[in-house]
Point group: C2
Chain length 448, copies 2
């Protein structure tokens, strides 16, 4: 989209080389966007890479489906080998999604020494460390800016801007669906199901929203972030993951009362000897920067030891934002190929297995919503039950009166910092003693 | 600060080469931070670059001054030629500040084919395009992440993440002093002078704060941003620059009443045929993301045609945040040298002279604070005066009653979108007719 004068000026000074030849795996939302951006910015991108980008092949399932205008019909193939086994292709762009097929094709492309660009967070969460190892061993590059935060340049920020720093903590709103649903519950007073249906109607949630609302999509992204932020080789299955399904409209009202909003966060912390990785609804102060990230927007807050806080904010999904990230990766990988320096990007990702702190050892503050039949001494009983396990309370309120005497009432407790295992043990003990009218709810509070 | 296991793993796979040899110009706040980070992360950085970083020389004015522990006394020199003329030095890191001396040394270093890293926004605002040209012609790299937004990775985001996008608009809080002073006026009810004195006491403002409060520092940074965001070769002197000196405590109260906060913003817009670059106090909605950036923090909002909004937020100054950015540049430039691909980074900065929209042709909304002796028909007279030049009003209020009849009162006007030349002409006409008791105040409103 830059002016031609720019592109000529840039390309006039770059060394000549044949083109950088691309093969796409997939031509859906993201793949179509990639083709459009490459076509619209061809000369400018050529200047940036030092060689023209040339699309060779595009793998799809259904060859009869209509494609974006930028997709030349002659590129279309349904045979994966036309892309990953063609020695004429320099970079394979995996934008097909899914796990098995994508894994096999990416492995083959790396083995053939091709650069690989992918936006597939599921693939990376499950196989990222191994794919990075393979790429390093083969001396080629694997880039994945599009996999987390759509158009937000979080991967390159972690890889490059934080190269001489230590990320002590990260907290991110990385799932737009959850953020939208929670926002509509809070501001519009909708119930969870109603908010999810609205998100579906607007195209912000899938027909089966459980990958998003269950927290799994956010967990995949946290795995990818942890590779770069903490050099951590952690299996996705090891993370503590909670979705937003248990949240009720009154939780938003109660949180508000204490000066908090509820956000679904992916949280990582580095303690040196161990790391913490967890995904769950979280109360954060209304005045914090993450609290004001609304709608389907994403934001990731990093706390560097030297850099201090750094937040990146933007569109977490969508064809063009994600495609801009994929194209920025194509440029990086392409430039390395032109410079004869393939593998340089990926070599910087140094990972090792890092012990994950068990969730019961996590120490933070808690919001507890307890339901119990009203009776004299109820508050004292709850405070005592928590106190027995060393959990001290900052506040305890009964926000609403019971409809009739003896009916269950909500008791909301805000704790000081406590070990999670002690909080859950105290709740379990009170539960088995028959104190509660419904299972207790526990949400964590993050302070900054 | 990464573990040794990581560093070894990374460096084991990188090709062997002699070290990348650094010469620093300056060892003050930023330079000292750079030396500390390089020492603390030596092995990790070596893995990232593919060769160890080795400091050779450090230029200072006063050789007897005490330096950070990481500064080996044998490096210190007061002779610039020891750094810029030494063929053994690969990268010159300019962290001395100022204009003339820095310019001469950076030019000599580029001419000698060395990579240059600088954090000097004044130098770049005045001579950036020419230095970039020199570096491109010489086939070497010039990097300057530290020059704007301290630790915020804004330069690499513009250079790389937005490589296939078109920045339509940017708006940034890029001067921490102004942001702190305005925040204290608004929240603490302080007068401007008092807030400036407080900022000085906390080390957030210089003894002579006028470079900051006059808007010039922000203008330098906007020039640098415009090179990358708009490919614009614009002299710093061409920008429209206003500082915060004219703002009074009541402006904050009035703005609040209409749902706005006052921020000092650097604003750039690209209209294709022309660009707009201006620095001034701006009213923005209380709910906008920039409104919640408090204290000395910086934030830059970019609007990409494809990417949509993207905001970066963090510490805009300070030894370590800025040093992290400088070191990230050293890594980039060093990696290019190791790969034998020097000049690749800088070649992507394609600039041309781009016409700047005259300030009178800017179209936006305005907040006008007018002072006039109270009399019947005053509001109608003002509305009429603006209307004669086609400026239509959204709101007009007299927020406070006069102390005595006939005393001057404040009239606050919020206009619809209007051409600035018409607004100023209308005000000037009313002023010459003797309507006002004090010079009218005009601040612009940005809506998103
Ligand atoms: N959409 C977003 O906003 C977004 C954001 C960030 C990351 N991502 C990631 O980007 C990737 C692609 O997402 P998308 O939204 O673009 O998906 P999509 O719209 O469903 O497109 C998938 C494309 O891949 C093709 N494909 C899928 N499986 C195939 C197979 N086994 N063999 C051959 N072709 C196959 C499909 O072919 P047909 O067209 O013939 O069916 C289609 O063209 C996913 O990993 C996703 O997680 C997406
Ligand atoms: N400080 C920040 O937070 C920050 C943030 C972003 C960008 N920057 C930029 O970074 C640059 C450096 O800032 P700083 O705060 O580090 O400055 P500083 O603390 O004043 O340090 C300047 C250093 O350069 C040396 N020096 C200055 N002029 C010299 C000359 N003519 N010959 C030899 N040595 C000379 C000084 O030597 P002596 O020590 O012997 O006096 C000192 O070591 C400036 O361009 C500034 O705008 C600073």
């Amino acid at each position: 989209m830059r002016g031609p004068a720019n592109a000529e000026e840039a390309s006039a000074t770059t060394p000549r080389r044949g083109s950088i030849r691309l093969g796409l795996l997939g031509c859906g939302t993201v793949g179509g966007g990639v083709l459009e951006l490459c076509a619209a910015n061809a000369r400018w991108l050529e200047g940036r890479v030092g060689a023209p980008l040339e699309v060779r092949r595009v793998l799809v399932r259904d060859p009869r489906k209509e494609r974006v205008a930028a997709c030349d019909p002659s590129w279309i193939t349904t045979r994966p080998e036309d892309v990953v086994d063609d020695p004429e292709i320099d970079i394979v762009v995996e934008v097909m999604g899914g796990e098995e097929a994508a894994l096999e094709l990416v492995e083959r492309a790396i083995a053939a020494g091709k650069g690989v660009v992918t936006a597939n967070k599921l693939l990376l969460a499950k196989h990222g460390p191994r794919l990075v190892d393979l790429a390093i061993a083969r001396g080629t590059d694997l880039a994945f800016e599009g996999a987390v935060g759509g158009g937000i340049p979080i991967i390159r920020t972690l890889r490059e801007a934080f190269a001489s720093d230590w990320v002590e903590r990260l907290a991110g709103i990385v799932n737009g669906t959850c953020n939208y649903v929670l926002g509509r519950m809070r501001e519009g007073g909708l119930g969870l199901d109603e908010a999810v249906r609205e998100a579906q109607a607007k195209g912000y949630a899938e027909a089966d929203p459980s990958l998003d609302t269950g927290g799994h999509d956010a967990a995949h992204k946290l795995c990818v972030l942890a590779m770069l932020a903490f050099g951590a080789r952690v299996p996705a299955s090891a993370l503590h993951v909670e979705g937003i399904e248990g949240i009720e409209e009154r939780d938003h009202r109660y949180a508000e009362r204490f000066g908090y909003v509820i956000k679904h966060l992916a949280i990582g912390r580095d303690f040196g000897d161990a790391i913490e990785l967890r995904v769950h609804p979280t109360l954060i102060p209304k005045t914090s920067v993450l609290a004001n990230v609304s709608g389907v927007l994403n934001a990731i807050l990093l706390e560097g030891r030297a850099l201090g806080p750094c937040m990146l904010y933007g569109r977490g999904a969508g064809d063009l934002p994600t495609a801009v990230s994929v194209v920025s990766d194509i440029l990086d990988v392409g430039r390395s190929i032109v410079a004869g320096a393939s593998g340089l990007l990926t070599r910087g990702i140094a990972m090792e297995p890092r012990p994950l702190k068990p969730q019961e050892d996590v120490e933070t503050r808690y919001y507890l919503r307890l339901s119990a039949p009203e009776r004299p001494g109820l508050m004292a009983r709850i405070a005592g039950g928590l106190g027995e396990l060393g959990v001290s309370l900052e506040q305890m309120v009964q926000p609403e009166r019971p409809t009739a005497p003896g009916d269950p009432v909500d008791i909301v407790v805000i704790t000081h910092v406590a070990r999670e295992g002690n909080v859950t043990a105290a709740l379990e003990r009170m539960r088995t003693e028959g104190l509660f009218a419904a299972p207790p709810r526990l949400y964590r509070i993050e302070v900054s």
